[in-house]
């Protein structure tokens, strides 16, 4: 993800400031160098990096840290503000009728992004249509058509057409019923004058509400020139960064945003049509700097709770702190966790858990935990309602039945029961506690989690959020 490395290397440098109340020039120089390195290896434009680091350096040296703030927090705040300032808000996309034109280099992922964006709009209750005007690349029509079928959205294209401008016009007419028109174009680069003229003609014909530049996350310093040219010819209102599921950092997109004075609209993170995200700047940079993203976390929890709770109304998370904690509660919690998204993403949003702490965990810790949770779920699916409500009745013969029924190893089933017992114990300790004891609660959870591994910690950690 963009600037991931900045997160970890910056945290390393900042840690050396721990306990200091004043910054020396050397400290600042060291930090600025680290920032430069990270940004440069993330493909951010060299002159932009220098501008940014100069600003950070000046502010760090000149501004007095407000009373009571440590030097470390002070620097962190400056870096945060400068980065937020650079990235800006995500591109405004009103949920209303509109026409969007996509432009970009060959192979940057325009066609895939078009289908993904159409899917995104359709989930927001709008009726999108994709219009494919790439008459040049063999297979473009078929690719767009197939992607739109997968996204279950309307598609217009003309495999025999030769004039992209005409296709664009016909397409708008043919899909007049749709709310959102997404016009895909053939790939082109800034130096292909005839193709630049062509996209200008398409732009005039479709008169889009916004034109988005689609950029491969791996693009290097060339991003600047490309962005400048597209900005000049059709005007760029937003940037879509694709292939962020690779190792590329996407710094080229920052350059493009800076160059076109626009913002980031979407992130592409995989090959299926659902792999698209809106860009959330402040939360994103908070996460990057290890400050947690509570806003997004609470949104996710709410959404997940709504989804889980909606299906089963007799379950009330409040019960947890009053009545007994059953396997059913645990099942619900795990279900909610799953709906919140991949565990590592969720972890990253919890203050104090993301950033530095995540770096210390082995790479596969999250996968292991996730697999374990999946096993637990499967085992629970093989239990009767009675067993779920009252796990104590599960003896040897019932365990054997569950093992046979679920195909999960006996050891795992026993771990599940053990885990439940531990969580039950922890929860019972919280009952009657006030909000002020939150910190103690978290501490207890961490200790309690020690025995059951991460799975335990996460399972228990969910309690407070429920």
């Amino acid at each position: 993800m963009v600037l991931d490395d900045l997160g970890s290397s910056l945290r390393g440098t900042l840690d050396t400031l721990q306990g200091k109340s004043r910054l020396s020039e050397d400290d600042v120089e060291e930090i600025v160098k680290e920032i430069q390195r990270s940004l440069l290896s993330a493909d951010v434009d060299v002159s932009l990096v220098m501008e940014l680091s100069d600003a950070i350096e000046t502010r760090a040296l000149e501004e007095e840290p407000p009373g009571g703030t440590t030097a470390r927090d002070h620097v962190l705040k400056i870096v945060y503000e400068e980065l937020v300032d650079l990235v800006g808000d995500s591109t405004e996309l009103p949920l209303e009728s509109q026409t969007i034109l996509l432009a970009g280099l060959q192979g940057s992922g325009k066609t895939t992004s078009a289908a993904k964006m159409a899917w995104w709009f359709s989930k927001k209750g709008l009726r999108p249509a994709v219009i494919q005007t790439d008459t040049f690349r063999p297979g473009a029509y078929d690719q767009a058509k197939q992607m739109c079928e997968r996204a279950e959205v309307e598609f217009y294209g003309d495999p025999d057409g030769e004039d992209p401008v005409q296709i664009a016009r016909d397409g708008l007419e043919a899909t007049a019923d749709a709310d959102v028109h997404i016009v895909d174009t053939a790939g082109r680069h800034a130096l292909e004058d005839d193709l630049i003229a062509e996209i200008e003609a398409i732009e005039t014909a479709v008169d889009p509400d916004r034109s988005l530049l689609v950029l491969d996350a791996a693009i290097g310093q060339g991003a600047k020139e490309q962005a400048r040219q597209f900005e000049r010819s059709i005007g760029i209102e937003g940037v879509v960064i694709t292939k962020l599921d690779g190792t590329a950092k996407g710094g080229g997109a920052l350059t493009a945003v800076n160059e076109t004075d626009s913002s980031i609209a979407f992130l592409g993170t995989g090959e299926t049509v659902q792999d698209i995200e809106r860009f959330e700047p402040s939360g994103f940079i908070s996460r990057l700097l290890g400050m947690g993203d509570l806003k997004q976390l609470s949104e996710r929890v709410e959404r997940a709770m709504a989804e889980t709770g909606g299906e089963d109304e007799d379950w009330d998370p409040e019960d947890l702190l009053e009545g007994s904690f059953t396997l059913k509660d645990m099942q619900k919690q795990m279900e909610t966790m799953n709906k919140m998204g991949p565990l590592d993403q969720v972890m990253d949003m919890i203050p104090g858990m993301g950033g530095g702490m995540m770096d210390q965990l082995p790479d596969d810790a999250m996968d292991v935990t996730q697999n374990r949770m999946r096993d637990f779920e499967v085992a629970m699916d093989s239990m009767t309602d009675e067993e779920l409500e009252n796990p104590r009745i599960i003896g040897q013969s019932r365990v054997e039945r569950i093992v046979r029924g679920s195909g999960i190893e006996e050891e795992t089933v026993r771990e599940l029961l053990e885990q439940h017992k531990m969580m039950e114990r922890t929860i019972s300790q919280f009952q009657g506690m006030g909000d002020g004891d939150m910190q103690r609660m978290m501490k207890k959870l961490e200790q309690g989690g020690g025995g059951g591994g991460l799975g335990g910690m996460m399972g228990g950690g969910k309690g407070p959020f429920g």
């Binding site: 280099l105 060959q106 192979g107 297979g139 690719q143 791996a218």
Partner: protein, 373 residues
């Protein structure tokens, strides 16, 4: 491609010349120059520095006093040391002389998309070569820098070069070539171009579509095959890629075709499943050549993916596409360096003939301005 880097390398050469060729008069003149600058504004300062640099490059050490104005650059190291060197009739290149120019060189390389660790490698080589060198009266600093840069760059770019055409000519037919790379870099287009390149040299080829994954992949390569009048072996979408390429090989054997060009689905090197599929293709098909395709506009990440692909299915060389886009081409330098395998071809446009052999010597010469093309 590479024009930006060329300019910057020239700047580096001038930088070093400036910082090493100032004599004791510099100090006095510098204050003059600064005074003038203050009066006329910065553009004048730039002009002065430029003019001095030009003089430097053309006139050489005999007229060192001409270069005084270049001292307007205030970041210069102590003039006293240089005065001492001048007094002994030699110019010693010291660490502090190189510091600023090397920093500028590093930035120039990064601006050209050379990956950071590779850029550092180049810097180290240049630093080692130049440090403590005493410039003899007979040669200019420019020559010395040029030599050091030439060696450092060539070291990095010219790895394991081989004659691709000769390799095809000598190999037992049919020759199987598999193309790998991430999504959207231009694998299929490169295959079509290479098929045409081979035909121009009298070799027949068959295309095998191992991309059974991407929407529209079959249609895309079929269109190329039809236009070029080549046989295409393809299976249904979702089929086994290794089997398709294997069928291509069988077809080539039965029909006396010289080369099998096997396409694969673009994949990101972070997708474990797809990368192990690539390993399987490599094992089952056991191609004579595996060519990694990447785009010239790629930035720092080019190194990571080249490494990962090389690990999954060892590559024999690289095709760099989209070299006609306004790219600085640092990716070429980085990829060659980390894989230890040569860049074989450049894709330079959307036509079938837009493919060129990559020649590292010529590139380095061009970068350093020896060749005016």
């Amino acid at each position: 491609m590479f024009d930006g880097l060329k300019d910057k390398l020239n700047d580096f050469r001038k930088d070093v010349e400036e910082t090493t060729e100032k004599d004791s008069d510099a100090a006095a003149d510098a204050s003059d120059a600064t005074a003038t600058d203050a009066a006329t504004g910065t553009p004048a300062a730039d002009d002065a520095a430029d003019a001095a640099a030009t003089v430097d490059a053309t006139s050489g050490p005999a007229e060192e006093s001409d270069t005084d104005a270049s001292a307007a650059d205030e970041s210069d190291p102590s003039t006293f040391q240089r005065a001492k060197a001048f007094a002994t009739g030699r110019v010693i290149i010291e660490e502090e002389d190189l510091e600023d120019p090397l920093w500028n060189l590093e930035m120039a390389l990064l601006e050209s998309d050379v990956e950071m660790s590779v850029a550092e490698e180049i810097l180290d080589t240049v630093r080692e070569t130049m440090l403590g060198e005493t410039r003899k009266q007979v040669e200019t600093t420019g020559e010395l820098v040029e030599e050091a840069l030439h060696d450092a760059l060539l070291d990095v770019i010219a790895v394991g070069q081989f004659d691709f055409e000769e390799r095809i000519a000598e190999a037992d037919k049919p020759v199987t070539i598999v193309f790998t790379g991430v999504n959207g870099v231009g694998k299929t287009t490169s295959i079509a171009k290479l098929s045409e390149w081979l035909a121009d040299r009298g070799y027949s080829s068959v295309l095998a579509n191992g991309d059974t994954y991407r929407a529209g992949a079959n249609e895309q390569i079929r269109e190329h095959a039809d236009r070029l009048d080549r046989k295409l072996i393809s299976h249904e979408q979702g089929g086994d890629p290794a089997a398709v390429i294997y069928d291509g090989l069988e077809y080539a054997k039965a029909n006396d075709v010289d080369v099998v060009l096997g396409d694969t689905a673009g994949r990101l090197h972070t997708s474990d499943d797809l990368m192990s599929q690539l390993e399987k293709i490599d094992r089952v098909v056991d191609p004579d050549l595996t060519l990694f395709v990447d785009e010239a506009v790629a930035g720092q990440d080019a190194v990571t993916r080249a490494e990962e692909f090389n690990e999954a299915a060892e590559i024999d060389g690289t095709i760099l596409t989209k070299a006609d886009a306004d790219s600085s081409g640092g990716a070429a330098i980085s990829i060659a360096y980390v894989t230890g395998k040569p860049i074989l071809f450049l894709g330079t446009g959307q036509g079938y003939d837009d493919i060129e052999r990559f020649d590292p010597e010529r590139l380095v010469d061009r970068l350093l301005g020896a060749d005016e093309t």
